[in-house]
């Protein structure tokens, strides 16, 4: 099956005041959506060795998201599944490098939304993400992590026309990049 991809939009953060990246009015003409992202947070609080990439669809912050289980591998730790047993207000992946303690590394994420424009069907998708700290003590304490595959479910059944990404603790650091692609199967 042939596959064609197009860049729909890209956002690169400048300055230090951007809290949320939003892709609005997403064309409904593709089969699937793919995001490729690299990002870092301005946060310096000691409570946040890393932060959480949170994703919302269509501006919906109700408890409409089910994150399912994913394999999360932490530095100096065993591979462990991360399971949610209740609906949440967002999809949340702990993959943002913060600026705490001189840490310098960004996180990366590949986020896929198949059949995003369908009506009458909940949306299910996959992601892969990673954050590898630059600090030895973080590794020894398990503060580096990757997830080779993660799954999520968004329970409303309408088309997805808007996707937003934000961190929980602080703004996006300048240079963070968010790319949205449309994929057509033919």
């Amino acid at each position: 099956m042939a596959e064609a991809t197009e860049l729909i939009a890209e956002q690169v953060v400048s300055g230090t005041s951007t809290n949320q990246i939003t892709f609005s009015s997403i064309p409904q003409t593709y089969d699937d959506l793919k995001f490729i992202m690299q990002y870092m947070s301005t946060g310096t609080s000691s409570s946040w060795e890393y932060d959480y990439l949170t994703t919302n669809f269509n501006g919906d912050t109700t408890n409409a998201y089910y994150q399912q289980g994913f394999m999360r591998i932490k530095g100096n730790n065993d591979p462990k599944p991360n399971m949610q047993t209740s609906l949440q207000s967002r999809v949340s992946y702990d993959s943002i490098g913060t600026s705490y303690n001189g840490q310098s590394n960004p996180g990366i994420c590949e986020f896929n939304i198949p059949r995003y424009s369908d009506s009458g069907r909940m949306k299910e998708g996959t992601a892969r993400f990673a954050w590898l700290s630059s600090i030895d003590s973080d590794w020894n304490n398990g503060y580096s992590l990757t997830a080779p595959i993660a799954f999520w479910v968004y329970t409303p059944t309408g088309p997805i026309t808007q996707v937003s990404f934000k961190g929980l603790s602080a703004n996006w650091k300048a240079g963070s990049k968010f790319s949205l692609y449309g994929i057509s199967n033919s």
Binding site: A4, T5, E6, L7, I8, E10, I36, M37, Q38, M40, M71, I73, G75, N76, N77, D78, P79, S104, N105, P106, G107, I108, E110, R128, A130, W131, L132, S134, W139, S144, L145, T146, P148, I149, K173, A174, G175, K177, S179, Y181, G182, I183
Partner: protein, 178 residues
């Protein structure tokens, strides 16, 4: 609308190549992706595969984290951790020359925001070094991510194998996401 993914370079391994090096990488794209099918010449069931950003093999700038499943470990996932800082870690694996004939390993890697000068670079990697005869005890399916601790833009990438060369007939693609 702009084409999303484009092939920048591709080829086939010939002449007992010890490495394939991509230089002068176009800086006008956002993310780099590699697709490689390869087999190493070493008389082993599995050999290391190295990816060096800007061809750097000094300075202990790399760290790895991920998981792998090995055929001899009863299906238990192993953690790939504590690797680094290192100057030239084995990122992924390909099959060596003792596995079943005509077997090649599929490898994929993605480097988001490769031209950035704001951050170090992080890469997703996966490889499937297997022996389809089912008799090899050192088969490994690997999902590993690598950080390159340097803010320089990535203008060249080298891929090389441990203890030998790439067997002729394998192939490689470097693509980019606009």
């Amino acid at each position: 609308m702009t084409i999303g993914f484009q092939v920048l370079a591709k080829g086939t391994f010939t002449g007992n190549q010890a490495a394939v090096v991509f230089t002068n990488i176009d800086q006008s794209y956002s993310h780099l992706q590699f697709e490689i099918t390869a087999r190493g010449s070493a008389a082993q069931s599995r050999v290391n595969l190295y990816m060096n950003m800007n061809q750097v093999t000094t300075g202990s700038k790399y760290r790895l984290l991920g998981t792998q499943v090995q055929s001899s470990s009863s299906g238990t996932a192993e953690i790939v951790n504590g690797i680094g800082p290192d100057s030239n870690p084995a990122f992924l694996h390909i099959c060596g020359n003792t596995v079943q004939a005509n077997q090649l390993t599929a490898v994929e890697a993605l480097i988001p925001n490769y031209s950035s000068t704001s951050f170090p670079k992080v890469a997703f990697g996966k490889s499937n070094a297997c022996d389809s005869s089912g008799s090899g005890s050192n088969q490994k399916r690997r999902y590993v991510d690598m950080v390159y601790q340097d803010n320089s833009a990535i203008t060249s990438i080298s891929w090389s194998t441990g203890g030998g060369y790439f067997i002729n007939g394998g192939s490689y693609i470097m693509g980019a996401w606009k």
